[in-house]
Symmetry: D2
Subunit: 360 residues, 4 copies
């Protein structure tokens, strides 16, 4: 069972390599009657697109998405939606010198052993380029969620050892700076850090946070397809992600039950007449949405494509030294922000549909 | 799409409530010809079973598993394996006084809104009792993995703010103490901590680590069903888990690429002639196993079933004070150790079968 | 991917061999709030049960089903429903003499080569006994369909070369005779035929028809999961079924379009204001229910377990003569009637839930 | 769960409407290392393509397929294979006059009620044009089956009341005549029939037969995903198919067990040392391939797009008379021949991969 599909009722199947002719996807299960256009997808694709600032790879891709089916007169028809992005910048010559080398920390080595075939041009299917289709498909999911009054947004909250001050959090800031950070005061510090990292030919990790609001109580399918479990999978499936937390996350391991608690009080202003005094649980109880904001954090490792020389082996098993050249992101965590939003949106759209069958 | 199934080729579908007549499961996809008996499953069930020490709930369950199908003369036949554990201790009177209250931090509230039905007897399907079937099914997966030379084990490495010293890690210790901890020196400290927590009617969180060895290069199905993504989902689907890390995990967000690297060197003694100088990646590259040990950590929150009074509401929306009585674990993270092993084994068994189709 | 599961939103996973300890199933996806009891399932189990007349096998099985989960105070809770039937009559000595022989026309040979294991006791998993769980699970599906005003019923319409007169069709008759036939006038002729077949130690085929009424327009998921496609699969998955037709079926191959047509006329008395002048299509257009009755026919071959000697080989590849003894149905098509109803109900329950997501 | 995907390990997801910009598909699970090119797919696409003779619709479509991913240097890489056919002839003006009419016997009416959206241009997703992608994807499946020594072929064996003489069956003839019939002597009679049908503005049904050879014993996953069940579904999912038979099919209902038998005799020349004296079962026993040729027959109804006037209603519920104009096939069964081959190939490729996990 190949793994390029995610979702059950709202599902996405993607294809495409970084240096092949095109990337594409089929989105199945989007209900009929949803207004949709290519512009709805393009906005996030442009946010994810490389070459937007000096802090991302200078590779140029138009990333212009076409909707090939499933639309009639501006509305979804209930049939599968085909998406296509033609690859326009396929400079595969950049990769000639590493054709026979395995990049440490990269998928080269495992793809080679798994499939016995090596598409050495920029990572092929394992390239971060694959995430463009996640973002395109996620755009449809977001459109559906909007119709359901659910909103998904993400931000970068730390880079290397620099971390934002949550007291200064302002969602309005996120799209005003090249880091998607909600703390305007951190922009100069992130800038300085990344300039230094780039100069050293190095890379740096990042911490992202996703917030989903407007989800009613009741989404999530225990005991295995819990909402948190499916979100964890979706986040961990993004290139370079090494950890996922819901609500208080890893810190919960250190807590006492008497303090790690979200008490409930009657509150007529709330949707179900109940207010929570805090949100340590991150909006999910027993794998089911509680009506509170859903909060996810994910750690993105520094990319292994750096100019610093490292020891490696080649496909003949010989020791070698590798030094990646070409156009790479000093902090892949930045462009992971719209990708994390898209993945969260895909999971939520799926669970929104799944929840329809809970009661007679 | 109800969520009580996990896995594609090696799959498990479970059923059963904490206070219903029985728990059960169907394990599909186990290849024919595997020697198997109920004893293979009972060992881990006994490790998970409550009432083994004063540090776990005193609820008494024999947890005796029966294999109802899929075996003939001690060998699997390739047909589905039915598993059953009859519930013997169904003291539902314990729950009468909280019949109309939502326990804060518990699934009561979300199940009620999702299904419109409230099985108030000990959590019903959301009870940790459900994990017994994960452990039973995981026992079959472990048996299959053993035939493939793959081994899965887990340990508790922190409880509240007490953390083991990794330098003292000894796998032999794990089954010698009631905490499943590999650091013998921590046993008295964990004992003191838990005695205090119990006296206070409180609970405490824990950190677990799972290690899987012997996995060949090539398991995992990008781009969505990556091995790390499926492991993250499986871990997060366990009751009370709030965070999952692979390898260096959340710490990767703070790292520089020049140091966050597992270099490769030729080494004729290794399976594929390659040795890694470290294992920050946790045994998975690009979502595919690299041949190194797979390392996962998970944070288990303190249980919300405590004797400390907290504010809550009842099903009529009125403010109330709740104080859980009955038999509860002061640290559910302890009994989560065999559960985490089982979930990891289920994911690995599935991916071991899935990997068979990678090449012509 | 093992094949003991059917359905996506309303799904059933079965286990159990004819001579093992028990048969069981997990029904997932039944919405919460449906009144349900074991009696709802037992009625059809009793219709399917052997030993009801001299025209079915004399094997005695109580076929008493237990519901092990998913119910609370007589209502479904939305969690998986576990079903169990203990096997009480396991006379495996009957099969000793054919322990090493492959029965021609039977699954012995293919199971042996597929799994390398031979459970020679009465067919194991390939036994018609497996269908008991289809009927039990189908009973839940029928209960759900009843809540949706959909009804499923089936009848035997031909046996060998004897065929009913459709002009005499009376659904009331079906449960009044041991053949489930709607034509009372055929009862003496079927009786005479079967008495002769039994005396000769032979068996005979049968033709069944299933009718589903009350399905609204719009169930079925093109292009692959069409309602007719899923019904065809479900019927063909029943032991001994060799052909499936929808509406006019195979006869459509001989027709002209000008006559093979169901015209539409305005009719205010109909649900959607439209009446069809005929139902050649069998209630499905383009894979989606049209609101007309859904009509399916299926051909059941004569069982290969007969007392007439035939040539075969044994597991050592030697030529042998086989003559089945033991208790067998002279016409397995009779007991297939409740099984066909159950399979149709399972497909419809699934598609009823799937159709909920068609529109925003 | 939308229904545009088929297969589990070897799976296909399709998209595209008859008058949209393009048709496409994603083929997942094709093992790495299979030589493949667009030419492998084009041959069957050309066989299916309209306008090849005066007996098929004159609509002109180049049906040129592009492979967009999953290939590197002429070999499959194990990653998803994206397929695309741009629609070039989108004469939607042909459909203006039936914009508000439901064509009797057509999916117009059911799509309208299911989705609430009407893409009146030539059937949209319900058009036979959708089958182009089945044929393209089936071409990949055939390529894989060839590597496994399995071959799939189909033929037209009856049209209206004209039926071939099986004694004259010659597979060489199939691609020499415009009817894909194996009986050369029938060509003039089919020609005469179709000329008459066309002159009358009418249409006619057809009967097809598919034969699959080279399948080893052991493919098929009881109890629900039997090989015959999955084949029945695949065939019934083709537009206009109303009946499916395996082996002797519907005729089995009339048979006696003493004669409806495929005896087995030792035969050292056969793969498993066993020869069958006949093949009434059609190559499948208990849902698992027996090593004999697999034989399927399917009935294709006459298309409802004819020039003969019929009664219908419009979307406002008013009585109307309809008379389809435009370019239509007098016998859609002809072009269904390569489609049936493709669907059989897809099922077999999937089951070939699934069978790998049967034994340890």
């Amino acid at each position: 069972m190949a793994g390029s599909r995610i979702g059950h009722l709202f599902s996405v199947t993607t294809f495409g390599e970084s240096h092949g002719p095109a990337l594409g996807a089929v989105v199945e299960g989007c209900p009929a009657g949803l207004p949709l256009s290519e512009l709805d997808l393009q906005r996030d694709l442009d946010r994810r697109r490389p070459g937007q600032s000096r802090f991302t790879t200078q590779r140029q891709e138009a990333d212009q998405v076409r909707i090939l089916s499933g639309l009639f007169e501006g509305m979804t028809t209930g049939t599968p939606i085909g998406l296509l992005i033609e690859n326009t910048d396929q400079r595969s010559r950049d990769y000639r010198d590493i054709q026979e080398l395995f990049r440490p920390g990269h998928a080269d080595y495992t793809y080679w052993h798994k499939y016995g075939v090596r598409d050495y041009r920029g990572g092929g299917r394992s390239s971060a380029r694959e995430t463009a289709m996640r973002v395109a498909a996620g755009g449809i999911a977001k459109r559906l969620l909007t119709a359901w009054q659910v909103s998904v947004r993400a931000a970068l909250i730390a880079m290397g050892e620099e971390r934002i001050d949550r007291a200064r959090w302002d969602w309005q800031e996120v799209d005003k700076n090249p880091f998607f950070t909600p703390d305007a005061a951190m922009v100069p510090r992130f800038t300085a850090l990344l300039d230094q990292v780039r100069q050293e030919g190095d890379s740096v990790g990042a911490l992202l946070e996703v917030e989903i609001t407007g989800v009613p109580v009741g989404w999530g399918e225990p005991v295995f397809d819990r909402l948190d479990a499916d979100l964890a999978k979706a986040m961990m499936s993004i290139n370079a992600v090494k950890g996922v937390e819901i609500g208080d996350g890893m810190a919960a391991a250190q807590a006492r039950g008497s303090r790690w608690v979200d008490e409930m009080v009657a509150d007529a202003r709330q949707a179900n007449g109940v207010a929570f005094t805090s949100n340590r649980a991150g909006g999910i109880l027993g794998g089911i949405s509680s009506g509170q904001p859903i909060v996810i954090r994910l750690a993105v490792k520094p990319t292994s494509s750096i100019m610093v020389p490292r020891r490696t082996v080649d496909i003949h098993g010989q020791d070698q030294i590798i030094q990646t050249r070409g156009r790479h992101d000093p902090c892949v965590g930045i462009r992971a922000v719209p990708v994390a939003e898209a993945m969260a949106a895909l999971v939520l759209a799926d669970h929104g549909l799944r929840a329809k069958g809970s009661r007679l």
